[in-house]
Symmetry: C2
């Protein structure tokens, strides 16, 4: 549909994927850098994406009986030591408050890198009976992790997320919760973000510090690198033992409670950008877009054009996030602005078209332009959006499937890996996984629930025990 | 309407107002204490109040063109020194990150006690022309201030709030913004929280560190103490000068930008409790209540009672936040539970009433009970809620007006002050204000825009220059 690159200020994906990505983040005004290295500013357009994700997920979590809470930003350092695996995983990157303007604190306070400790401590003090269960708490908050290298949305010293922390009477119920959240995340990707995920268990080396099992949703970026976009952990009774979360069950026995924790973060926005966008800038699927439709009058000085534009605006406003651009700037300038910003649907209203009662609509994701009777237009939007959304999802799914291979030899594995995307291989275990990571930079994304590809592990030549999907990842 | 205290676990206001307040916070399950002193946990019922405040205010701020953003939790200490008055006000209570798990930071990071510095720094880098103005940014976030004495919702080391930070081309426009936000806050109190506020300018000693003028909304608690419930600051060009926020105006002149900042916090929940609640526990006005209606079947085992209850529930659910309590507990136990939790409207459904197609409704705020035809009930709720809300507002307003006096002598001032509430007095200035504070504990709440009460200041005997409303305050 198009040949010439209109938005000159954005690098192309092929020439420099990293620069292309940050160009979009900055020039589509999603974020700005702050004075504190690794901390970003979420500008209105970027934050609106997060708010739309919040609304959608909150709505789902309300139906499933989850309750929003807010736990403190900090906890005393001594609590950190209660769960050994957890502290090993998180203490290296934990920021601490040690002083106020006036004096040093007697005990360091850890800024939450995640809140298992805070919730477990609370649960240990309040849960006494099976009647208190389940607890289905969720919070939306900021967390801090001292990451060395940072990238907008994908990895920052501070990020925004939701973290669910639930407690159950039985292992079965907790396991069910863990998996149902995975479903909810997958549906969030499919229904709102047009993002297909590969879902599965993490290997022992990649699982959450303090979890028995970690499930993950993994997205494949345009450059062939994977991105962990969310996780759902079955914690078993690990924290329950460390924090003494015990309850009297209906059989009068004292038992440890079973926990889960799970989260998605502003990383989802990074995935959204890296999967859908193109060399002209951001491409947003319609349901999450902060601005779903932009109306551009081609002659802003023409009264009838203006009138029609304003009428259409006031009709669409009732059901859509729509913007009418009456600025005194050229239509061409506006076109490239809104293309850069990924507005899904553009309506061009001009004198010539109006002679036939027509307007021109332009779809950002496929650059399709068509003339359409203005009176027919509003009723066609739902179908237009649905098709657009489905096509974007299918395109991303196709990309994922085309870049998902399986290797029977280590050489083949390396060849596929160079081409980008996922490579499945049946391996013997952690030894093979670590060797692969060291030699190729690829990490185990998820364990596949499929038959073994080869009887022996191509890396160690030992008996293969599981099939793992590998990729280089953000 | 009632004589016996039903909820035994809550102290009475008269016997111990402080304990009564924390009893309600804890026993109505609004909050819990955390392991870090001064940091509280917002439990589902308490957090839902905050979410309802957020929804209401977000809706208003969207209509006025404000945009939500999210700025970082921290800023480098050096930025703190850019604005001298501001740092003097905030540095004593600023918490700082100095270390991570691995190593000490080369520069301390200040955790935002408020974000004028972060926004001003950003604005200084991005605003260049009058075309960039106004900027109408708002954020919902947590802030940290190292308060010595803390009280749930009213004063904590961490609290949740919204902070608006706007930039304008002219003084007039910024001033208008400052005042229109004050209106919005007043309306939030009146329409959602049934809280009347006294509004006005703060004195020089009480204004925000770094503001030219601070306006405040002040609520009067049941015990006669005042509470600053929100502020709107006109910053003038103070931060613009410190941070070099300059723009090219339409007349081609380079000018400093005019700023405002304003915020309301979880303090509003404290005010809500302290104004409306009674010795039986929490009393919530209907529009902000997380649970607006509770349906209690008097015979949970009776099929027809259960059926009617469930039908009513499914009808009401469409328009209200309603809960059906089918627990196997006595009706009396349930009554006191929901009274403690301040649920505005209770519906009792029992066999005897159903013989006449009647249910009993109970209004929490005035303990009024009445029988009502079940088929008439749903259509009457809007009127019921409106009356309830207005009566609660009027009662609070009456309390405010009855406890607002004016003094012509310092002795009279002290006498009134002991009775609780506000006392207006015309004073000479800061000298009188500080003497009053030292001798009586009362602080200047707002400057009144009225005629002088006395020509001379009763405290200093100098010429009176302004009339100030004083009170002891939280």
């Amino acid at each position: 549909m198009k040949t010439m690159k209109r938005v000159k200020t954005v690098a192309t994906r092929l020439s420099d994927f990293g620069k292309w990505y940050t160009d979009i983040c900055l020039k589509a005004e999603l974020i700005a850098y702050s004075e504190a290295k690794g901390f970003i500013i979420y500008l209105p357009y970027g934050y609106a994406l997060w708010e739309n994700i919040q609304k959608h997920l909150n709505c789902t979590l309300q139906k499933t009986g989850h309750q929003n809470v807010y736990f403190p930003l900090v906890f005393p350092e001594k609590l950190f030591h209660k769960e050994k695996e957890h502290i090993q995983g998180f203490s290296p990157e934990a920021a601490m408050i040690t002083t106020t303007g006036k004096k040093n604190l007697s005990e360091k306070l850890v800024i939450r890198p995640t809140s298992e400790i805070l919730f477990s401590q609370y649960y240990s003090k309040t849960i006494t009976s099976y009647r208190d269960l389940p607890k289905l708490y969720n919070q939306w908050c900021n967390v801090v992790r001292w990451e060395k290298t940072t990238k907008p949305f994908l990895r920052g010293k501070e990020f925004l997320w939701q973290e669910g922390h639930t407690v159950h009477a039985t292992e079965q119920e907790a396991m069910q919760q863990t998996l149902s959240i995975l479903d909810i995340y997958q549906k969030l990707g499919k229904d709102l973000l047009a993002l297909p995920f590969v879902c599965g268990k993490k290997t022992e080396t990649e699982k959450f510090a303090g979890a028995l099992i970690t499930y993950s949703i993994e997205a494949l970026m345009h450059d062939g690198q994977a991105l962990q976009a969310g996780t759902s952990h079955y914690l078993g009774i690990i924290f329950a033992k460390s924090f003494q979360i015990q309850f009297q069950d209906c059989d009068n026995q004292k038992k440890y409670a079973h926990q889960t924790s799970w989260g998605v973060s502003t990383r989802l926005i990074g995935a959204l950008i890296m999967v859908h966008s193109d060399d002209e800038g951001l491409v947003l699927p319609p349901y999450v877009a902060p601005m779903q439709i932009v109306i551009i009058p081609l002659q802003t000085q023409d009264e009838s054009v203006k009138q029609v534009s304003e009428n259409l605006f006031s009709i669409l406003q009732k059901n859509y996030r729509v913007h009418l651009d009456l600025q005194d700037k050229t239509a061409g300038w506006k076109f490239s602005q809104y293309e850069l910003k990924g507005v899904p649907l553009r309506i061009e209203i001009g004198k010539r078209g109006l002679e036939n009662d027509e307007v021109t609509i332009f779809q950002r994701y496929n650059f399709a332009k068509q003339n359409i009777k203005i009176k027919d237009f509003p009723s066609q939007i739902p179908q237009l959006f649905e098709t657009m959304h489905n096509n974007m999802y299918q395109k991303a799914l196709q990309h994922l499937e085309q870049n998902r291979k399986q290797a029977t030899t280590y050489e083949e594995f390396k060849t596929y890996l160079k081409q980008g995307g996922y490579v499945a291989m049946s391996i013997s275990g952690t030894d093979a996984e670590l060797q692969i990571k060291q030699e190729t930079g690829a990490t185990a994304r998820v364990i596949l629930e499929t038959n073994l590809i080869t009887a022996n592990c191509p890396v160690t030549n030992k008996k293969a025990l599981q099939t793992v999907l590998f990729a280089r990842a953000y």
